[in-house]
């Protein structure tokens, strides 16, 4: 019966007047295979970011477990502890939140070849609260060679200011993502993603300031941002199985937004197992972006234009990252017991950011606008223990 319906549909679909029908037929054709839920596992991680005068570290715990044959649930607890003072804090002598705690819960429901996912996330700081709800659907088709996923998320944030208890602003974020994963050959897997995100509300960081020429020196005022932002990101990534047991990975992503920022990054990686226990992973990533339309390191006057920012993340810069990861795996062989496999991993990435139009305003002995350009190096370390059960 299904074959007959498909044959009749093909008559319509092969008619070039019906390109949409062609597309739909492509989506539903092929012998369908069952999708699978993610594996049951638990991870306990220590993470650390150390760079630019700031150290942010803390624990993270992620547990995922099937509760029935077709439902899997997950929960994550994550903490950022912030110490030190970034260049922004040193220039403006302003305070930042010292701790951020995040909780995530999620559930996946498997229905034949479809997985429906729901999630909720809460992030809390003494001056920032964020709640995010997400919904996704993923479908395997074409003999299990293709997976299409659509997801939507909505976030409601409340922005505060530790130095002003009466300060409270709202921000709303909506996210739409389309993902297509395709088995290209028996050794090559590709993934294409388009992701649009819109923000409305208070998008500033309330502590950050812009600077402007004031007599022979410079003065600072609170930044002024637009109240909307829409961004588009498109990524292609792939993994290729080498002629021996190892994998080569690549990624290219392009980004643009309504603030005038264009960015791209590329990543090349190589994963190499050694005997049954060790997995070595190396990667190199390059990122580049140009400044937002309303960014300047030094504005000519205090009210030069409607929107003014001096956030270094909105300037023109590059980020070069090189990373290593090593994992040691133990297969317990206890397939009928509670623990099937365990691993210990250490990952270390070194980031180097070179800013092209953000100057080091701590050099107060120099005329504003003639200070040296800022740069920062950061070490990003993850140490984690994983268990599959």
């Amino acid at each position: 019966m299904a074959r007959k319906v498909a044959a009749e549909a093909a008559v319509v679909a092969t008619n070039p007047r019906y390109p949409l029908a062609c597309l739909l037929l492509a989506l539903i054709s092929g012998s369908l295979w069952a999708a699978v839920l993610p594996a049951d596992r638990a991870d306990v991680m220590y993470h650390s970011y150390d760079g630019g005068g700031v150290k942010i570290d803390g624990p993270a715990v992620l547990v995922r477990k099937s509760v029935t044959d077709d439902v899997s649930v997950s929960a994550q607890y994550y903490v950022d502890e912030i110490s030190g003072a970034s260049i922004d804090v040193q220039v403006n002598a302003s305070e930042y939140a010292e701790e951020r705690t995040q909780y995530d819960i999620g559930a996946d429901y498997l229905l034949n070849k479809t997985i429906i996912s729901v999630g909720y996330s809460n992030s809390s700081e003494n001056d920032y609260e964020a709640d995010t709800y997400s919904l996704g659907i993923s479908q395997d088709f074409f003999g299990d060679l293709s997976t299409l996923s659509l997801s939507y998320a909505i976030g409601n944030d409340t922005v505060g200011k530790s130095t002003d208890p009466t300060f409270e602003e709202d921000k709303r974020t909506q996210s739409y993502q389309f993902s297509w994963t395709q088995v290209m050959t028996k050794n090559l897997l590709m993934n294409f993603i388009y992701h649009a995100i819109t923000d409305e509300g208070y998008l500033n960081n309330p502590y950050r300031t812009y600077r402007y020429v004031d007599g022979s020196g410079a003065s600072y005022l609170t930044e002024k941002y637009p109240e909307t932002r829409t961004s588009h990101a498109f990524a292609v990534r792939g993994r290729y199985y080498m002629p021996y047991r190892a994998a080569f990975g690549f990624e290219y992503r392009r980004f643009n937004d309504t603030w005038g920022i264009n960015a791209y990054n590329m990543d090349l990686g190589y994963t190499h197992p050694i005997n049954d226990h060790w997995i070595i992973d190396v990667h190199y990533r390059y990122y580049s972006q140009n400044e937002a339309d309303f960014y300047s390191d030094l504005f000519p006057t205090a009210d030069f234009q409607n929107y003014m920012a001096r956030d270094k993340e909105l300037s023109t810069y590059t980020n070069n990252t090189i990373g290593f990861k090593v994992s040691y795996e133990i297969d317990t062989g206890w397939s009928h017991d509670w623990l099937e496999k365990a691993s210990v991993s250490l990952a270390w990435d070194m980031m180097s950011l070179e800013y092209e139009n953000f100057r080091d305003a701590r050099q107060t002995n120099r005329t504003p606008g003639t200070e040296s350009l800022y740069s920062l190096d950061a070490d990003v370390i993850r140490f984690f223990i994983s268990a599959w059960f």
């Binding site: 093909a10 092969t14 390109p19 062609c22 597309l23 739909l24 492509a26 989506l27 054709s29 012998s31 295979w33 991870d43 991680m45 993270a60 992620l62 996330s121 992030s123 964020a130 995010t132 997400s134 003999g143 060679l145 998320a153 944030d157 993502q177 994963t181 088995v183 028996k186 050794n187 993603i193 649009a196 995100i197 961004s231 588009h232 990101a233 498109f234 990524a235 990534r237 199985y241 990975g249 990624e251 980004f255 920022i261 264009n262 960015a263 990054n265 994963t271 197992p273 997995i279 990122y287 580049s288 972006q289 140009n290 937002a292 993340e313 980020n319 991993s345 990435d349 980031m351 990003v380």
Partner: protein, 83 residues
Amino acid sequence: MPSLHSNKWFQALPLGGLLLLLALGGCSPIQPWVKPYERNNLADPIMQFSMDPVESGYMHHVYQAREAARGAEGGGGGGCGCN
């Protein structure tokens, strides 16, 4: 850097091309070309886009904090929506 700046046609090209390929796929009797018994290599854990979700989710968060670009990070990502 300005050389990247957008040409909308160029940006639409990859997605348009993919949709076209997909549409053509629906119009011709293409069968799945990698058989189930040929998927040993693809099933190897080293072929996962995100081998360790807790760790890759964290890295996405670090990049989102240090870079203006956001989204399309792939599996394990998502971030928290915060600054």
